[in-house]
Amino acid sequence: MVMDVRKCKGTHDLLPEDMVRFRRIEGAFNSCCSRWGYREVRTPLIEYLHLFTSVGTLTPDMLSRVYSFLDWDGWSGERVVLRPEGTIPVARLYVDNLGTGGPERLFYVGNTFIFDETGEKSRERWQCGAELIGGSNPEADAELVLLAADVLKRLKCGTVQMKLSHAGIVRGLIEAIGLGQGDEIEVLDRVLNGDIGVLREVADKEPQLHDLLSHLLDGRGKSASFLKNVKAAVLDVLPGIEASMNNFIRIAELLDVTGCDYEINLSSARGFEYYTGFIFQLYIGERKVGSGGRYDALIPLVGGGDIPACGFALYMGQLMEVMDNGGFDKAPESRVLLRCADDTVRGYKACFDVAMLLRQRGYVAEFDLGDMELSRYGWLILLSDSKTGATFVLIDCDSGKELGLGSLDEVFEMMEKAKCS
């Protein structure tokens, strides 16, 4: 009986052409981060559930969709999870291993798992993340925005729109609205789950808040000046947000002087479970390809000292959707297929030797196993060809032109010449 083997619902296979794009993103990210002074880390795929509940920053909705289970030694009831996100594990890694208080610039590439019952979204998501731990200055926030922009620019995958917000201002607003404690948690949970409209619902009940909310949530700005205007308009009603406003203005000024284009949109803040300050989101077209922000409370919650931090992540699945292969796959002219007429062990030995020399020169060399698709190769080399009697026959797969050659050096010479022309 044929076995019915399928992949799990909500998961994706990455095929060779997907991996080309995947590695291209990873390569650009690694190389940019390294040049900006970030060092790569990797955390385990499984962590204790406790790590994520103890920080108290993930919403119950998010936690209820975490893949958790009892390990083989889980008789104590301590559950483990497939990591649902990347930042908290890196915060733990920092506290466990590096937490001396000095600034650390870290980056990672990893997958995260979260259940999605519709099956439309992927339950496994890959992301590239960078974390700047130990820097509280607005310059650190600006650095991350510019680093993310640098990576995306290098990937040449389209125009990037950047939306900026500030969790300190949104939280200040929720506090100022003055809900009861239970309601406040519920409103915050809804905002965290992406439903910023709940603030408007609240404002509808209190007409005096209406103007204030429209300034804060509906306004869109393109420079620090916009924030200065909003600050002047709302500060007498919301004095509590002054520090957050000043912080936001400073970051916007830094981005202004570097020529970075952005849109200030306070209602773009969503899913900011652990963010405490500046937040940014990156879009290509309608697709959100990354987000980041400041999470000063996280390192203390994980058990480290009072150490501020900020970071961002790029969503590889989304980025792969907006990228083409960009010619990064090995070009056909560098791919060589070897076919040996002499099927003795000696004949294959010669073939292996030629393949090794080709690889040393940077070619991709493969043996013909029969029925190989010639259009995938630049060259076909026949060894010990009985028809022509030549030691090597070099065939240009594109034109079909054949050339009998006596030595390997002549073969290389012809191939190099073709490359130059």
């Binding site: 509940t53 009831g77 019952e117 239970g182």
Partner: protein, 476 residues
Amino acid sequence: MQLRLALPKGGLLAETKILLETSGFDVHHYGDGSRSYRPECKNLPGLSLKVFHEKDIPIQVAIGNYDLGICGLDWVRELTVKYPSSALVELRDLGYGKHDLCVASSGLSGISSLSELKDYDGDIRLASEYPHMAESFAMKLRLKKFRIFPVWGAAESYPPENAEAVLVSCSPAKGGLLDSGLISLVHVLSSGACLIANRDSWERKDVSPLLNLFSDGDTVGVSRNGEDGLEAVSDSSHFPVSVPLRSDSGVVRLALPDGHQQKPTVELLERAGFDVREYTAGMVRPDIGIDYLDVKVIRPQDMPLQVANGNFDMAITGTDWLREHRYRFPSSPVKEILNLGFGKVRIVAVVARDVPVSNANELRKLLRDGELPSIRVVSEYVAIADRYAGDKRLSPYRMIPSWGASEAFLPEDADLLIENTETGRTIARHNLKIIDTLFESSACLIGNVDSLAECNKVDKADSVVEAIRHSLHNVR
């Protein structure tokens, strides 16, 4: 049209039977001492009925084996809180089997309100027969560090020593919290018997002939008070009892079984010279006359896990449950100390009588030959059954965990049953046959090798073990 209705055994059976009779169902062989799992409805020939353990009914209806089912709302929510996309529709509150679920603690643990639980500085152990609801509760309350102990029963026995809180039934009709000395911290769900439907059947199939028969009750929604699990209750049910919280140092903690293993356990302990008192049904803390022994009654199924996690040092359970535990947790510190000889059963593999196989190899051949597309394995012993199906290469197979009355699943809802039997008579009566014996099980004394090696416990534990060993030799 053929319609399938799943009916509960156990606590809801008597009132469900009355409901069916008064609603005009001419039902035979349901209750009345009948051991059949297939009652018949004489006036609705297109209706097939099956009796299950209440907890299995929402799953059976959700996966589409039954169009409709009757069970407690608590078991429906226990499924849907973890698997919200389960294909279930809650149709009607049937008006009986009412009880409330609440999260409770012992006042002696220093937790007497929801806010104290939330702010508790330490690891919160939550024991419950409803582990999914307990986990959801913990997450909604944003407890920082918690562990859920899923238990087969007797959750109310756990606080304060073995759990900080429990999610339990707290209605007076079910014994209430009074006897167990618990304080209700928060009301989680008002439960009662309800009628549920498979969503697909509800959307595509005409089930109205059945629904018309059920007398109009309230809709289920009416009684959903506090279903979000965070409705604080007053402390009117505050009945602290004077269980002394003992210092743990040097005390050996022994768990004794409830249920049918209770009587032989009493006899064994008395033969061993212990003065056994207050070890009767419903009593949580028997006294066996030794001051360094702390004794509690819990379900035998739960004992290996509770000994492994350090809640108890020793327990009397069955080798079946010990093996189930060790298959699940191979490096567990729980070991068998003594085989006690009583409570002998065989753990067997069972199929329907008309399946043309007499052993596991022949069953595998049916799979290989394509006679069976896959094997559905039902059992209360999930890890043992899983291991058996794997060892016998009965692939592909699917595990169906069950909470009792597992014979009812064969042949319609499962193909292979892993079950215990004393004489094999029950199996034969349900038109089933044994095709393999996995192992023999009997009562045993188990212990946590790490905790028993502690220097202030080792001598005391040894003397208990020796007394029991001696009594076994005397019998032999």
